[in-house]
């Protein structure tokens, strides 16, 4: 009975998980444009990965993107969730912040383009402020990060808010009765109890950052001067603009490996080892 119930999910997993992965591994050993006959090249594509300066540059760009986006995402999610917890505005703010996630990315990109374009954007026309994201590399990266935060912060707020609701109020009240300040309650009770949630958001955020590509594709096209060419966009350019599908498959495996290593490292670093510490202290 259990096998029968698991069968539909297993079929879907094999069809859309296992088979594509095996196919990508097979493609990674080919030189193939998608039109010509594939030529088996063994591990040549893997060796090329190590010597590809553009790939390492895009990995650096992705790290910079993650370095800007992830801490801001976590901080904003936590701060907003704490501010609205139990207030009258809670439902409205949550609904507002989650709304961008319901709009198609293409539609959102159009709105952002018309609003913040330095040549004819609304902000530029009405304030005279020319946002330099089409010419300045760092500004372009900040622009893509801002767009990503605009889309995702609502999700983070919802997750943190749900975790805050799960903290029993008696625990906080007991701490206050014992003389703890509000800062102490937050530092020694709320924050440790939110740790699994923040770990989850960090790992999910990292995985999404390493796979991000749509915002870059729609807003900056990797420019200016390749400053926003994250790994996902470099993979797209390689496979679908230069038609190097074999090498694109090798990059896919590289991204997969980087994602796994980073996610496992984060899970290990952020894991709650409070039990171990307590035992050692005892």
């Amino acid at each position: 009975m259990a096998r029968l119930l698991a069968a539909p999910a297993t079929v879907v997993f094999v069809l859309f998980g296992v088979i594509p992965l095996v196919t990508v591994i097979r493609f990674a050993g080919w030189r193939w444009s998608g039109v010509s006959d594939p030529t088996p090249v063994g591990f040549d594509n893997m060796q090329r990965l190590l010597q590809d300066t553009e790939l390492w540059r895009s990995l650096g760009t992705t790290a910079a993107f993650a370095g800007l986006a992830l801490p801001t995402f976590l901080a904003l999610s936590l701060m907003v969730a704490l501010a609205i917890q139990g207030t009258k505005a809670e439902r409205f703010v949550k609904a507002l912040l989650f709304a961008p996630g319901l709009v198609t990315v293409g539609g959102s990109a159009i709105a952002w383009y018309l609003l913040y374009n330095p040549d004819f954007g609304v902000v530029s026309e009405f304030t005279g402020l020319r946002l330099p994201w089409t010419t300045d590399p760092f500004a372009a990266l900040v622009y893509v990060v801002a767009f990503t935060l605009w889309q995702q912060t609502g999700y983070g707020v919802l997750v943190v808010s749900a975790a805050l609701r799960g903290i029993p109020p008696e625990v906080k009240e007991a701490a206050r009765l014992d003389g703890a300040t509000e800062g102490g309650v937050f530092r020694y009770i709320t924050l440790p109890l939110l740790r699994p949630t923040l770990t989850f958001l960090t790992i999910i955020g990292t995985v999404l950052t390493l796979q991000s590509y749509t915002a870059v594709f729609l807003l900056t096209g990797g420019g200016p001067f390749g400053s926003t060419r994250v790994l996902g966009y470099y993979l797209y350019e390689t496979a679908f603009e230069r038609f190097e599908l074999g090498y694109g498959a090798a990059i896919t495996l590289f991204v997969l490996a980087v994602t796994l290593v980073v996610a496992l490292a984060q899970a290990w670093v952020l894991a709650d080892r409070g039990v171990g510490r307590t035992r050692r202290a005892a």
Binding site: L76, M79, L96, P100, A111, L115, A146, T153
Partner: protein, 52 residues
């Protein structure tokens, strides 16, 4: 707590502005886009005619 509320208000504005613009842009006269002059504010249902 005041800082958290100020951050919340700023984040809400940051999120709301593109959403409101997206809503309004659907009713923006086509000439404003063609002439790249978004100060030409107006209201038209012309864009929705294309949907039918």
């Amino acid at each position: 707590m005041i800082i958290l509320r100020i951050v919340t208000v700023l984040v809400s504005i940051f999120v709301a502005v593109p959403l409101l613009w997206l809503l309004y842009a659907a009713f923006l006269p086509a000439e404003a886009l063609l002439m790249a002059d978004l100060t030409m504010l107006g209201f038209t249902l012309e864009n929705f005619r294309e949907l039918w």
